[in-house]
Structures are given as structure tokens and as C-alpha cells.
């Protein structure tokens, strides 16, 4: 059994009289320590899969398992616990708390964790050792995204879920953020899952899932991922 497994996952929204299947029988499995990219156009169901996997939303039917835990059967309280200890999120728009400094933002996340990493150490790891006392508004987009990565990894989670982490960044900054995520994956052995509509990112992944209309339409395994530096978009 794989580290992460989604079986026949279905998420249905009811909009008036219409039923919309955001995820329509998704099957996928990911091994521990893999750098994984889910790619697809808007509305393909990528974010739904990420939310379900991250304990941010419940499934309508199907089964979600991470490291032997059945997430799809958890209640709201257990999901909160699960998000607290096992998942780190990186969002497209960083979602930092504006009136906390970079360091305080990381501390806010680790405050409720069991075995967190040292916040200062983590910020040094992402290259922000000298910007710890700055507020988000005083940092560039790339630096803010680094803070949010530091926040995610300082919790010492089992998986890192990244929703369009480069979506709001320019080409160069985006690449350095991706390089950082790959470095985290390789050096700490954490499973990283990135969601994007950018086809180019698939080249750097160990495993790729293509999605369309709520279904996984292809899966590919990359034995020789391209280094981030060589990517172009």
C-alpha cells in the first residue's frame, strides 16, 4: 500500500438543481518522499483533490488514506488535529498574517504542534535569516512565499501541499521557490505535492498526474527529473 492513496474519490456540490462533480472518481497513489505535480486546466478538480487530501474538505464518497490513516472517515475535530500535525500548506497568495513578523508567522504555526522544527532555523534554511523581524508587507512576493514555505515545513508535517505556489510570482522568483521546494523534498525526505496549470513544471517531478473534468486522465513517472534551472515558461 502506498504512502498516499485516493480511491474513487468523489466530491459533489449541489448548486440549485444542478449537481457538480468537482472530483469524479479520482484514483491516485503517491510514494513517500516523492516530488509530485498535479497538472490540469482551471476547473479540472486539482484544488478539490488537494483540499480533500489536506483535510480542508470532506469527500462525498471514496477513500483517502495517508500513512495508514483514513482521512475520509475523520470528523471535524480529527481533521483539525490532522491538519495541525500532518499537513503543511503553501498557498498561491501566501496567506501570511499581516500584523505578525516573518518569525511570528512561523511561530504561530508551530505553537500548536507536537514536534516542530526551530522557527529561526527554518527561516535560515529558506534564506531569510536576516529578514525575520520584517512584516509581510516589507517583503517581496518571493520572500513572502519563502516565509509561507518555512511556516509549512517548521510544523514538521508528513506532506507539503502547494496550491499554485508560483502563480503570483515572476519567472525567476518562481523558479527559486520551486528550487527551494525540491531542496526540501530531497533533503528532508518529505512528500511534496504541487498543483499547477503550468505544464512545464511536470518535467521536474518524480511523478505527474494530469487531470481534466474531475478525473485523472494520465499518470507518468519521471526517472530523470529535469533540474529546476533548466525549466522555461
Amino acid at each position: 500500500m502506498s504512502f498516499i492513496e485516493l480511491k474513487k474519490v468523489r466530491k459533489t456540490y449541489i448548486m440549485g438543481d444542478n449537481k457538480i462533480h468537482a472530483a469524479d472518481g479520482v484514483n491516485l497513489s503517491i510514494e513517500k518522499g516523492e516530488f509530485c505535480v498535479v497538472v490540469g486546466p482551471s476547473g479540472a478538480g486539482k484544488t478539490t483533490v488537494l483540499n480533500v487530501l489536506g483535510g480542508m474538505d470532506t469527500v462525498t464518497s471514496g477513500r483517502v488514506v495517508l500513512d495508514g490513516k483514513v482521512i475520509s472517515k475523520m470528523n471535524a475535530k480529527q481533521l483539525t488535529e490532522y491538519r495541525r500535525h500532518d499537513v503543511g500548506f503553501v498557498f498561491q497568495f501566501y496567506n501570511l498574517v499581516q500584523n505578525l513578523t516573518a518569525l511570528e508567522n512561523v511561530e504561530l504555526a508551530v505553537e500548536i504542534c507536537k514536534k516542530p522544527l526551530d522557527p529561526k532555523e527554518t527561516l535560515r534554511l529558506v534564506g531569510l535569516g536576516d529578514r525575520m523581524k520584517n512584516f509581510p508587507a516589507q517583503l517581496s512576493g518571493g520572500e513572502q512565499q519563502r516565509v509561507s514555505i518555512a511556516r509549512a515545513i517548521a510544523k514538521n508535517p508528513k506532506i507539503l501541499l502547494c496550491d499554485e505556489p508560483t502563480g503570483a510570482l515572476d519567472f525567476t522568483t518562481g523558479k527559486s521557490v520551486l528550487a527551494l521546494l525540491q531542496k526540501v523534498c530531497r533533503e528532508t525526505g518529505k512528500t511534496v505535492i504541487i498543483i499547477t496549470h503550468n505544464q512545464e513544471l511536470t518535467k521536474m517531478a518524480d511523478r505527474v498526474f494530469g487531470m481534466r473534468n474531475g478525473k485523472v486522465i494520465y499518470e507518468a513517472v519521471n526517472d530523470n527529473p529535469t533540474p529546476v534551472e533548466e525549466l522555461v515558461w
Partner: protein, 515 residues
């Protein structure tokens, strides 16, 4: 801050209005106790005798008794005639004690000294050193002895000088005191030494009035029903003890009008607070709803980090509660002081005010605080609940705009003729029901207040009209002393076709002008 402000305002008003009436009653009670205000004034058709006084003293509940001479006379001051009420005692009165305002107190040896009561209503202003001369007509009194009538002098001296001015616990209102001489309105009230009053043969100094206090008066707050209830029993015993009129405090114009006016604030206090509390709850609710909405993405972030809903809600509850408590901390001292003082000072235009005494209604403060805290808590939880009920995934998204909907008005024939802007506005009215409801309620509330205000104004105007055109349909009342009732002069006046007699009561005849 808005929450703290509105709670401070609402609770301060509520507390202020609630304690104002007790403050007024307490302040006057203190003054009444300190000046030993009489519970009764006893009057008689003839002078009080020694036996009468003994019988009054003999009534169980009676504390102090002060016999005194009181008489209304006309005096000349600076060349003009005025109606003067004279009181005379042989020492400074221990009931209805005077408080000196200016000049000196009487020495109770010099017959020509008088102290004047500080003026109220349309009374003349007494000035230190003013000389009063009792007019010829007022100098004598007709007494019946041995079956014959004698005219005896009333005073030993006819010239008085104002030595000082003082306040009295029985004269402090804005109403004119009436008398049965001159134009019927008292211009001066004077206190003199008993040596100014003539000895009447066989009787000696005449006692025309007796002031009485009851034993347990100090245990009751004046101007309350508790006091009224207590005093009723004493009044009956006094009535039974002798042949005289027992006049309680309510026959004192100042006391009576004050007891009516003091309760007015209490009446207002029962209506307004509900309105204020409703407004405060509404403001607190919309403030917190807006705050939670503004923090939407932050709430989402915290949830994604694994913070529980209750941990997030507790932040808003803490905020709401601290604002509420801050508001209460401001409200209690403000409410207990500012509003009662403002109202007290407003009463100053109608009464000569004694020193102000604060009261604190702890039960009321407790209830107010508890209600505000519970309301804030409830409102905060309701405001948070809808946001926390959403899944963390959806709360990270910006709130979806409310869907547009067709409305009933569209079935009206002219709908198609409306410009798009108006169509959108009309649909929005029904789309955002909370805003719509709040606007309607706010306008309705304000409108109701304005109309209630104007209605009150109208009804007061109507009362004046009813009172003087419908109820008081007479033009004159004629005060008549008993020996004058059958006189030729009076019947001549009444028969000359200018006035018509409507009704005759003891001592007065009510007439209408026939023209």
C-alpha cells in the same frame, strides 16, 4: 471601539435614568432630615390652647411639636404694598429649620428683626436692610370675648428690618404661594421673634399653627409611597386627638409638586432603556460580523494551520467581551454621575435645590452588566458561527457573492420600462435582506421617536386648551371671609349683571363674566 462606545452610552443612559429619581429623593430626604421638615402642619379655626398642645404631644408617634404664630398681612416696602406671610417663634425653629443664605440670623431678643425666605416663582427679592411697615388695615385682629367683638392689636411693633435671607424646607418650588389677602399671591415670607407679636388679653401670645414631626420619618425616604403609608396612620391619630385640621406634606405646594415631578424621570426610565439595549445589541452584532468578514482569509489560514474553531472564536469573544467590559467600566461612573447631575440641575429651574447626594443602584448595575455581557457573548457567537461552520477549504476562498434572484415586483407591468440601474437596485433590496431590515428598522425607530415627540407636544398643547377652555370655564373666584359672605356689597357686586355666580363653596364664590 464602536461596541465599547455604544454599550457605554446605552448602559450609562439606563443607569443614569434609573438612579436620577432615587438621587433626587435621597438628596431631598437628606435635606428634610437635616432641616427636620414637619410631617404635619396643624391649623385651627381658633387659636391653639395649652391643652391642645398637650393633647398633640400626647399622640404616640409624635416626635417634635413647634407651636408658632403665623399670619398673612399687608406691608409697605419702599412705598408699595405687598402680601407678607409672617411666622413668629420664641427661638430658632427646630422644625423646618432655616438655612441662612446671607446676612444674620435673628437674635430672638429684638422684636423688629426678620429673616426673609429666599424668593421663588414671582416673589419679591428681599434685600438686607429693607424696611417693612405693616399697613394700618392689617394691624388689628377681631376677637370674640364675653359675647362681644373686640378689635385688638396684632403686633407690638409695626416696623421690621430684613436681617438676613434663608432657605426653608417648606418653601422651595417654582409655584406661587397663595393667600387670602391682596391679589392672593404671597410676596414675602418672613420669620420674626415672638416678641414682635402682641399679647392678646386673657390668651397671651396666640398659637395659630403647630408644626409636628413623627418619630420614624427618618427611616423612610421622602417622596415615596412607603413614607405616605407610614404617615397615614400618624395622621389619623392626630386627627382623632383634637378639633383641628391636620395638613400633611402633600398639602405643601413645594413638596407636592416635587413628588409629582421626581417620578417623571422614573417613568421615562422604563421605556428608553429597552430601545438603547436593542440598538447596542444591533451595533455589537454588525461590528463583529464585519470584523469576522474582514478577517475571513486569516480565519482560513488559522484553520489550515490546524487551529480549532473554538480557539479562533475565542479571539472574537475576547475582543467582544473586553470591549463590553471597557464600555461598562466607562458607563457605570458616567451613568451614576453625569446624567443625574444634568437632570438635577434641570430641576434647579423649578426648585431651590439642597446639596446633591449620589445613590448607586447595585442591583441595576449588576443586571445591566450581566445583560450586556450575555448579549455581547451571544451576538459574538452568532456572528462567528456562520463563518466557522464553513469548511476550511471554502473559507479560504473569498465569500461567494449572493446569487441574484428574480423578485415579485417583476410581475408588475411597468417593470420592463425601468432603467437597468433601478432594476439592479430593486433586486438588491431583496438580495441583502439584513441590510434592508436594518435600514427599515433604523428609519422606523427614528421616525417613531420623532412622531412620539411631536405627539407629546400636541397633547400638552391640547391639555392646556382643555384645561382652560373646557374644564376651567369660570373667570374669577372670589375668596370670602365668613363675616363678608352675607354682606350687601357682595350681593350688589353679584347682582349687577356683569358676573354670574356659578357655585358657592366654603370661603369662595366662583363666577363667570357675562360679557
Amino acid at each position: 471601539m464602536a461596541i465599547a462606545g455604544i454599550i457605554a452610552l446605552g448602559v450609562a443612559f439606563l443607569i443614569g435614568l434609573t438612579v436620577s429619581t432615587p438621587d433626587i429623593k435621597k438628596s431631598f430626604t437628606e435635606y428634610f432630615i437635616q432641616s427636620n421638615l414637619a410631617d404635619f402642619s396643624l391649623r385651627s379655626e381658633s387659636a391653639f390652647s395649652e391643652e391642645d398642645l398637650e393633647r398633640i404631644n400626647g399622640v404616640d408617634e409624635v416626635e417634635d411639636v413647634l407651636p408658632l404664630f403665623s399670619y398673612d398681612v399687608t406691608c409697605e416696602v419702599k412705598g408699595k404694598e405687598y402680601n407678607v406671610r409672617f411666622y413668629a417663634t420664641d427661638e430658632a425653629p427646630n422644625i423646618n429649620k432655616l438655612t441662612l443664605e446671607s446676612g444674620e440670623m435673628l437674635d430672638y431678643e429684638t422684636a423688629s428683626q426678620v429673616v426673609a425666605i429666599t424668593p421663588f416663582a414671582s416673589m419679591e427679592v428681599p434685600e438686607l436692610g429693607d424696611k417693612l411697615v405693616v399697613t394700618e388695615d392689617s394691624r388689628n385682629l377681631t376677637v370674640e370675648m364675653f359675647g362681644r367683638e373686640f378689635s385688638v392689636p396684632l403686633f407690638d411693633t409695626y416696623e421690621f428690618e430684613i436681617m438676613g435671607t434663608a432657605t426653608s424646607p417648606s418653601y422651595y418650588s417654582f409655584f406661587d404661594e397663595t393667600c387670602l389677602i391682596g391679589d392672593g399671591k404671597v410676596d414675602y415670607i418672613l420669620f420674626a421673634d415672638l416678641s414682635a407679636i402682641a399679647d392678646i388679653p386673657t390668651i397671651g401670645k396666640m398659637t395659630t399653627e403647630v408644626w409636628v414631626t413623627a418619630e420614624d420619618t427618618a427611616k423612610y425616604t421622602a417622596l415615596t409611597q412607603d413614607y405616605d403609608k407610614y404617615i397615614r396612620g400618624v395622621e389619623e391619630d392626630l386627627n382623632d386627638a383634637g378639633d383641628w385640621y391636620v395638613l400633611n406634606r402633600k398639602t405643601n405646594l413645594s413638596y407636592y409638586s416635587l413628588s409629582m415631578n421626581a417620578d417623571k424621570v422614573a417613568n421615562v426610565a422604563t421605556v428608553f432603556p429597552i430601545f438603547f439595549i436593542a440598538v447596542a445589541a444591533l451595533v455589537a452584532f454588525s461590528t463583529i460580523v464585519r470584523m469576522v468578514d474582514e478577517d475571513r482569509s486569516q480565519i482560513g489560514t488559522l484553520r489550515s494551520l490546524g487551529y480549532s474553531g473554538s480557539a479562533i472564536a475565542s479571539k472574537y469573544i475576547f475582543y467582544g467581551l473586553s470591549a463590553c467590559i471597557l464600555g461598562l467600566l466607562l458607563a457605570v461612573p458616567l451613568g451614576l454621575t453625569i446624567l443625574p447631575i444634568v437632570i438635577w440641575n434641570a430641576y434647579g429651574s423649578m426648585y431651590t435645590l439642597p446639596a446633591f447626594h449620589f445613590t448607586a443602584d447595585f442591583a441595576m448595575i449588576g443586571i445591566c452588566s450581566a445583560v450586556s455581557i450575555v448579549a455581547t457573548l451571544l451576538v459574538t457567537i452568532i456572528a462567528c458561527a456562520s463563518s466557522l461552520k464553513e469548511t476550511p477549504a471554502s473559507i479560504l476562498q473569498p465569500r461567494a457573492p449572493k446569487p441574484g434572484k428574480r423578485i415579485l415586483l417583476e410581475r408588475l407591468p411597468f417593470w420592463g420600462l425601468l432603467p437597468f440601474k433601478h432594476k439592479a437596485s430593486l433586486r438588491n433590496v431583496f438580495r441583502f435582506k439584513r441590510n434592508f431590515l436594518m435600514t427599515v428598522l433604523a428609519v422606523a425607530g427614528c421616525g417613531a421617536l420623532i412622531i412620539a415627540g411631536m405627539g407629546m407636544l400636541n397633547s400638552v398643547a391640547a391639555v392646556t386648551d382643555l384645561q382652560f377652555n373646557e374644564i376651567y370655564s369660570y373667570d374669577l373666584t372670589i375668596g370670602v371671609s365668613s363675616d363678608y359672605a352675607e354682606s350687601a356689597e357682595l350681593s350688589e357686586f353679584l347682582s349687577d349683571k356683569k358676573y354670574m355666580e356659578v357655585r358657592k363653596e366654603r370661603g369662595s364664590i366662583i363666577v363667570v363674566n357675562l360679557n
